[in-house]
Structure formats: C-alpha cells, structure tokens
Symmetry: C2
Subunit: 320 residues, 2 copies
C-alpha cells in the first residue's frame, strides 16, 4: 500500500518502481494498482501514432514544451515494439526526449512488452493509471509501427492523433488498417515536403465521408514541421479543442465507459489465465495431447476446463 | 453436420460456405468445425509474410505453381487488414492470384476480420482447418503489414517465410517487431536491386547469433526475383527441407502442441466472452458504471463476475 500512497503524492521514484513492478508482474502489485485506480480519471490521454519515421518523437517533444508552458503536468508513455521471442527491447530515438529528464513535472516511461496479444495495451493502461494518479494533467502515449498497435491506442486514449508524411503513401496503409477512422486529429508533418497540400485535400475529402463525424466532431488537419517547431501551437490547440468537445458532449463519458468495459474484460481474462496456469500441469497437458492426437477438439476441451472452474472455484481461482 | 461431411470429401462449395459461416459466426457452425477438426493435422502450413510491396502475392503465385507441378493440392489464405470501425475490407493485389481460380486443386480464400485482437488469427486457424480437412497438402498463409500480425503467423504456421527487399530498411523494422526471430526461411525478393548481397550477408550474420538456431535448424537465405520467376525452386526447396527437418525432429510435435494449447485458450476465452455478453445487461452495465465512477476497480469487478460464473454455471454458460 505504501507505494500507492507515495504515487498519489506525485513521488517520481515510487511511480517508476510501481510501473516496473507491474511490468515484471511482481506479486502484490495488482493490489497497489487497485488503490491507485480509485484516484484516476482526471488526466487527458492523448495517443500519438503514425508510421516509423513520421516524426512522432520530435512532435511529442514539441507538445511537451507546449503543455509545460501552459503550466500543465505531462506524462509520456513511449510504447516500443519488442521481441516476444527474445524478451528484449530495442530502444529507438527517444533519447531526443531526454532533454525533459530534468523537469520534475514531465514523467517519461518507455514500455516494452514481453507478452503476446493485448499485453502491450494492458501495460500501457496500467502505466497511464499510475501517471494519472500522480497528478499529470495530460498523458501522451506514443505508439510505434502500423497495424494492430494503433488500433489499440484508439481504445485507451481520449484523443488520437495520427501523424502522416507527404509522399509516403502511409495514408493508404493506415486506411487499410482502419487507423484513419480512429483518429481525431490529423497532423501532416514534414509539411515542407512536396505534396503536403494534396495530402491535406485528400484527407479532408475522406473525412467528409466518415461516419464517425456524425457524432459531432470534425477532425482538424494540421500542417507541421516539428523539427523547425512550426505548427505545434495549432496541433496542440486541436487537442485542447477536442478535449473541450469531449467534455461538452456525451463522447467523453462514452469513451471512458468503453475503456472501463475493456479493462474489466482484461481483468477477467487475466484471472482465468492465472487459473489455467495453476491447473495441475497434468490436466492441461493431457487435454493438449488429446488435441494433438485429434481425440477431442478445442471447444470440448474448453468446456472441460470451464466446468472445472465452475465447480471448483475454491481451487485457487480467488487467490491472487 | 452435412457441411462438414462434404468438406471432408473435398467439396469446394461446401468449404467456401463453411468458411463464410465461420466468419459470420452463424450459430451451429462451431459444431461443424468440431467435426472438421478431427480430420486435420496432415497439411503443411506455410506462413508468408513481409512488408507491403515486398512481393508477397507474386511469390505466393509462383509457389502455388511449384507445388501444383509436384502434384500437391494447395490452399491459400490471404489475410487482409480491414477496418474494425467500418467492418469493411479493402481487397488488395490478390487479383493476380486469380489465374489459379480454374484449377480445382487450388483453393484460395481472402479473410477480413471485423473483430478486435486475436480475431484475425482465430479466423485464420479455422480457415486452415477447413482446407486441411479438404485434403490440401500445403496451405500458404499470406499476412499483410508489419507488426503484431506477423508474430501471430509464427504461432499458426509450421514454416514461416519472411520476404525482404534490398534497400528498404525493412529488416530493421522486422527486427524491432521480433519477426526476424520468428522466421524459418528468409527470401530476399527483387534481388536484382542493388544491395541484395549486402542484405544477405547482414541476415546471415544475424542468424549466426540467433538462439533458436540452437534447436538444430539453420534458416536459409534465398535470393528471388518473383516477377521473373527466378529463385522460386530454391525457395520452395527450402520449404520442403524445413518440413523434412520438422518431421525428423521433435520440433513439429512441439509446434503443434503449442498451437493446440493456443486454440484451447481461445476456445475458453470465446465461451467466457459469450457468457459475459449474455449476462443480464443490467449487471454488466452496473459494474461498468461503478468503474467509471471509481467506486470499484477492474480486479474487484472481475472477481464479482467470476464468482457468478463459478456459482451459476447453469445460467447459460454451457449452452451453444
């Protein structure tokens, strides 16, 4: 409990330790997170996404500067892809953001997932909760890569920013992956490159057709040159405009409801995974080996396990 | 049951219908899949992955030709990213593969997922089962994009081929995402482009350090020019060599065990998701709304639901 109390007081070292414990799944950490959770829900969560090389980290650095000038406390979660095989993480270009390392009101954490599906999203949400409870006003979440990862950002953020660059054709990939539809704000970075205006026109054309705009939000398309600090105020103003929109409509409530539902389902899955892991190795391996020999099928085998859970909840299902 | 019986006889129309029913989650389809499952495990499953534009579809077309010449029956599962928001799918360049549409021993299906995480992988596995039960000897699975998607391919395929192109720097992204480590065969396509030999040397250098090679398999690096039909025999021979390696070692058994375990866990998750969906809307919504108000936390709320499952399995958990 002590760790959580310190986090609530904004203690940076305690927050860092709690996040590390969560990552490593140190026993007892779930309890700490529970009490932290009760003090969350105030921060505005901004997902920043885009293809590698689009300039996410640079723009993020600029946004930190903007919010700090407004006196807001900033959290940054940098999500790094890592190998599920080696368990290692390759740190990228976030060294650039280290210039904020001395400002105690900017808290930056890189995440590496060692698990499979959903793992990164879960770790991201836990880290967001810790930063929220610390008293950060805005939490920027950077997601690298393209595909599934970005879609997850849309599930945990209040505002999703998609960064595109002219001439890369990224918008086609993003459209395919459904990311375009998840974005609330579009930033065309490296706007000095030929084709920026054309990309803006294309995006605005697509947005005109978008069903989600029916909910009352018309996404802005902002041109920036993050390396030259150009267009940052406009991009940041869009974030604040979106935040105001969310609060004035039912949309914020709706998004947070969806996030709560998602976290509830994750928690259930996590309990059951623990249960299955704790099942006598024999039972599980016997079923797996019957599956390999095609003596049974996944559905019937699953029913066996579920009936064991239903009848034997006392077998450790409720111990942490 | 009729549909499954027809599939086992190799009926193309029945197989297509079963796959469509699975995609649409038509009630009763799970039962059909159960009986199909008992007749699977013979086909060799090859995952083909790489960045957009690397030439996956072209190479796939060439491989189909190779295996057909050997008298083998071929299944192809083309996995397309699609929007989780719109529910639609954008079909890409697989028109090229339609020239095989008249050969009744080549069965090609494009998949679009409408669901969230894990959805595509699950649909892929079901489609593989149907093709396996139809009597296909080899099933080629094409995954588009980069990131999470490819990693999933490694979980469902016996052999994973990664296609790279010189001069794109794709290998760096792939390394970051852990895909390099998941691949059993490396194909450097468009090998006429400057830098192919350098890329080959780099890959071979990396492979030297790879822990997985300790299991006895040394991945080959093959140069191809798929559009000119060059290097295809070498690439296909690598697949056959890997298949022989898997059969002669414990590795095939191990991979299929892992896949069975994965499918078992998916089946459990799927039952529980159904259960939660069927929970009286009031119970779930009440918990979600308590979460939004921070009156409880996801862990405690999850325990409430699990205790309901444990005590009330009769409330519909075992129906369907």
């Amino acid at each position: 409990m002590k760790l959580a109390d310190k986090v609530l007081k904004g203690d940076v070292a305690a927050a860092a330790r709690l996040i590390r414990c969560l990552e490593d799944e140190v026993p007892g950490t779930a309890k700490e997170l529970e009490s932290v959770y009760l003090h969350t829900g105030r921060a505005h969560i901004v997902g920043v996404t885009g293809a590698p090389g689009a300039g996410k980290s640079t723009l993020l650095g600029c946004l930190i500067g903007f919010f700090r000038k407004k006196g807001m406390k900033v959290g940054v979660v940098a999500v790094d892809p890592s190998s599920p095989f080696s368990g290692g993480a390759i740190l990228g270009d976030r060294v650039r953001m280290q210039s904020y390392g001395v400002d105690k009101d900017v808290f930056i954490r890189s995440l590496a997932t060692r698990g499979w599906k959903g793992g990164l999203a879960k770790a991201t949400v836990s880290t967001i909760h810790v930063m929220d409870a610390m008293g950060k006003d805005v939490i920027l979440v950077e997601a690298v890569g393209s595909g599934q990862g970005e879609v997850d950002i849309a599930r945990v953020a209040d505002t999703v920013i998609l960064i595109l660059t002219p001439g890369t054709g990224d918008e086609i990939q993003m459209m395919k992956a459904g990311i375009l539809e998840a974005a609330d704000i579009f930033v065309i970075n490296k706007a000095d490159i030929e084709g920026a205006d054309r990309l803006k026109a294309t995006l605005e054309g697509m947005l005109g057709m978008r069903s989600r705009s029916a909910r009352g939000w018309k996404p802005g398309v902002v041109l920036t040159e993050a390396v030259h600090d150009k267009g940052i105020d406009e991009a940041a103003d869009e974030i604040l405009r979106h935040r105001a929109f969310l609060s004035s409509s039912d949309e914020l409530k709706e998004r947070r409801k969806q996030r709560a539902r998602l976290e509830l389902i994750w928690a259930i899955e996590s309990y059951l995974n623990n249960y299955i892991e704790r099942m006598s190795q024999g039972t599980l391996e016997k079923l797996v080996s019957e599956l390999v020999q095609r003596k049974t099928n996944p559905q019937s085998a699953a029913l066996k396990i579920i009936s064991e859970i239903s009848s034997g909840g006392k077998n450790g299902l409720f111990t942490d």
